[in-house]
Symmetry: C3
Subunit: 432 residues, 3 copies
């Protein structure tokens, strides 16, 4: 039996939308081409994350954040080739729907480049599309722990989190695991939970265990630490939105005209509505037009639509996005209140946005209903428990052994000089 795209999903998919046309080489070639194009759209999201996180942090830590965001996709690609893909799609090598491993490294199955492997793509396409996804989980973390984490421990965390934790969770749903075998299967089209919340939980644990940046929460209250380049943050969000058309659109796993175009529309509308949700909420809250909130609102709208991008209509997408944009503003305020310092708002965007989007599948669209709500809650809960536990385990072990936080002098001077012996902008005078 082929566990890779389990019957329940395919059936759900078929009954919701419409049967595929009988397969032929032409359609196979088109499908495969689209998934490959989607792959590089997801790839460029890593530049989006890099730009966004660099823009929203200080100039003295820019090399550090760019270094992490450059090395993470490399880690993701290599670990996914070595073990992640086999953990996520273990085929028959299953232990009770919770864990499976089908080997190490990639080996080309018979007929890997024909529809016999899959009607939507070749084996290599399958691997590379999923591999590009994998790295995003760690990238989400890097924003939340920015400006104070040691480089070595962060890379160590990333290798384990991307290489092992992410694919195990992914398997629970996309690899045919227990979340996919529920009577009402948990539904997560492109990863509001499976990708974004996985990253979000790691981000929450990391930010909590590190503690806030020096000077962020003083006796006189929270002191905003503005990011050093709004242009870079803006470039980042546009590139993420751009890439999201591949992230969601490619998750159709074919070039089916109706499905892909629907996903494009829901993705575009949710992002746009997220901008307005955050605009209104932040104007209401802060009485100013805060571009960083609008940018994060777009992302929250996108994270929100990700779980049900193939299930929603235009109005529903607008609602999901708009609420996502509101959530992110109050999330940022909330985390500051409880003194969890997240320099870029990653926890609000990816964790809260991911939870909201996952729940929204039960509230809106083609699958809405109470039993779906319960399955969504179950999925959210088990992923939370696993990711919280594993990232705590990794970060806490690192904290107790080699330490995870740079020392005070290093933090004040900046990580660039201390960890990388260089500056991001050596030709320009800084303000202080």
């Amino acid at each position: 039996m082929d566990f890779r795209y389990p019957t329940s999903v395919i059936n759900a998919h078929f009954s919701l939308i419409k049967p595929f046309k009988p397969m032929n080489q032409e359609i196979f070639t088109i499908n495969n081409l689209w998934v490959l194009v989607a792959t590089i759209l997801v790839f460029i999201m890593h530049l989006g994350f890099a730009s966004l996180e660099a823009g929203l942090t200080r100039a003295k830590n820019t090399v550090n954040i760019l270094f992490k965001n450059t090395i993470i996709p490399a880690i993701g690609l290599l670990t996914y080739a070595f073990i992640g893909f086999n953990l996520m799609y273990p085929g028959d090598a299953f232990i009770g729907g919770f864990f499976g491993l089908s080997g190490l490294g990639l080996s080309l199955p018979e007929g890997w480049d024909t529809p016999a492997y899959d009607e939507g793509f070749t084996f290599y396409t399958d691997f590379i599309f999923q591999a590009m996804f994998a790295a995003t989980a760690a990238t989400i973390v890097s924003g939340a722990v920015a400006e104070r984490i040691k480089l070595g421990p962060f890379i160590f965390f990333s290798i384990l989190y991307v290489g092992i934790c992410y694919p195990i969770v992914g398997m629970w749903k996309w690899g045919g695991g227990f979340l996919d075998s529920l009577d009402t299967p948990f539904y997560d089209f492109a990863g509001s939970t499976i990708v974004h919340s996985v990253g979000g939980w790691g981000a929450l644990v990391g930010a909590f265990l590190l503690g806030p940046r020096l000077g962020k929460y003083t006796e006189k209250g929270m002191k905003p630490i503005p990011g050093h380049s709004i242009p870079m943050a803006t470039i980042g969000v546009f590139l993420l939105w751009f890439g999201w058309f591949g992230f969601n659109g490619g998750s159709v796993l074919s070039a089916d005209p109706g499905d892909v175009s629907r996903v494009f529309v829901t993705t575009a509308i949710a992002g746009a509505a997220g901008a307005f949700g955050a605009l209104f909420a932040s104007y209401f809250k802060f009485k100013t037009y805060d571009i960083t909130m609008v940018l994060n609102g777009i992302l929250a709208g996108l994270v929100g639509i990700t779980a049900g991008a193939d299930l929603m209509g235009v109005g529903e997408s607008a609602i999901i996005g708009f609420v996502g944009g509101i959530i992110v503003v109050f999330g940022v305020v909330l985390f500051d209140k409880i003194k969890i310092d997240d320099p870029v708002g990653a926890i609000s965007v990816h964790l809260l946005g991911g939870i909201w989007g996952t729940l929204a599948v039960g509230l809106f669209g083609d699958l809405a209903g109470m039993s779906q709500v319960l399955s969504q809650l179950l999925g959210i809960a088990v992923v939370a428990a696993f990711c919280f536990a594993t990232s705590w385990l990794i970060f806490f072990s690192l904290k107790r052994s080699i330490g995870i936080r740079v020392d005070e002098r290093e933090e004040l001077e900046g990580l660039d000089i201390n960890e990388h012996s260089m500056q991001a902008y050596p030709d320009f005078a800084s303000k202080d």
Copy 2:
């Protein structure tokens, strides 16, 4: 009868090039995929505009210009879903070829995801491709009015201009309106007039009603106000050129190999020739190698080829682009002479370039001829009249009511601090 892509266009198209192959699911899927990919190429043009306009203005207004360019695509997507698409493609709901409205919001027609809807794309693809176009009109305006317009009124203008004015004009041609029903139909392949001049007229009216920036035109003559980041401007132009392959290439409305590849070549060559036109003209005029002129020359070349990208050969594209590049240099000089202050050169690029490109359809390529010239002039004139009048009406009403210009102190300090309570680059020391 299907007014959406009216018979006259299709016939013109067919007779010029060649008949479509008989439709089948494979070709439909390929066509749809290309239009979707083109959609996201047009999407990323919004980042291109954002970067270009931010780069060519001062650091103290950067958050403001980025804010506008971020919110405009969101406005475009939402208003186009609510009303624009129905205004632009009203089907039978016509009043004399000038105005039509087929409802509010989007409703999926029967067979929306099959070739019965259109041989080139599904309903959702049709919507989202056109929606991405819509927002560009307002983005063009934002550059010309930069560094002095109040945020609220600009957003109000954008909503009306993108949501209502743009689709009405678009309908005249692309929705089967009166410009498309002339004996010799007005021709505008991808929108030299329908998109770029529409934006350009709004830009001209806005810049005129606002007046120049403080200190721009003094008794001692014009004082150049250099943009704060040439790298951002360069990134912007490259992204615009990149996206233009989708803007023009997607306007083929299918993946027809001959048509799309021809459009790619004419688009590339016109941009390249525009660079040289502006290089020579600006060296002749200013005796220096002015990169901002070269960048705007590329854009003028691209705007110029847009009306006839499917009609020209390589040599004709080079001429159109080269002349476009020359026009932009003298346009910038001209507008400075009459004290219309356009910080980024948007009026020269999009309005003059758009007029030139529209005329060029009568002068070069497959449709060249006197009766085509007359139709092109008629189209240019009626679009001018309508856009000038409506943008004047909107901007002037706003000016007389809530005001459109920030006060002097705010302009001198910068819009970022005053409208957004933040700075684009808080870590860096400014030159003064």
Copy 3:
């Protein structure tokens, strides 16, 4: 006989992989679409080069480097249309496999938009894809000669090198010339030698004839001159990697699912492994985490895989990329030792990486073997001889006539003020 894609290559290709399916309009349309998408991915690599080179040089020379990188693609497109394409694919107009010219300008052959022209693309697609490649050769040079070359002579060099030298070398292999007619044909899938080393030799000659930047090599040893914007350098490398999927993936010259997906995987893995190769080598050498080395390591991995991207497995790609990353670190050290000043590391990346990748075709993958090694060495050697000689001839003639280096004052003040009368960042205070 059709020399454009010579029998030997097609045969090698067929025997290695599998026969093409019988041609039809659907597959032709898909193939053509992919090559067009790949074309614009290669296009955006020019922004990648622009960003990378600007980021790794000083702020006072930024306008200059951006100017060059903007004008080069324009030069490439226009010269390739005028003469380059006819030099590279001369058809029957051959002189002994070394030189051929089939005319000037582009003329559409009969059946140019049907599979009769080529099963993978139309004539226009063929031209535009190759034209985008052409300009990269000169772009590589511009990095190595940055911060001290005069603008005029550099543009003159670029026109000759891109317009004439590059297509002649390209013909030797891709146009069916003598390197393709060896008993064991020289193999270079997407241009480790034909593109990257061609650029690399020009870069070496240019950097040598110019001499090092003032203050780079002092009596006290080499003084690092850090680039002014690590974010721009990072953006550049990500865009290059992004575009490389089109550079290598498009070189399949069809959308064949197996071939394109394989190339995507090898390209991604080699880039990732290159990051780690350079990370380890630079940590070993400098005891710090040097992001510029990691960025160049990615590029060296990508250059390395380019010659055999369709021949390698995952493990082989990882080795090739990893070694490429190591090479670049020691290359940079080496060129500094012999006082060849390459501000961005272009010679190490493109020349050394290109040689390594070309050799690797003989060492790993489907064609590995001693006779292949010899053919690869022969190809490397003749391209070296030709490019070294021609670029020496051009640069040396320029040096002896109008001069190629700006004067001392101009170099110290920066090229932006002196050649362009402007600054890249006029609003910001510099550090000195």
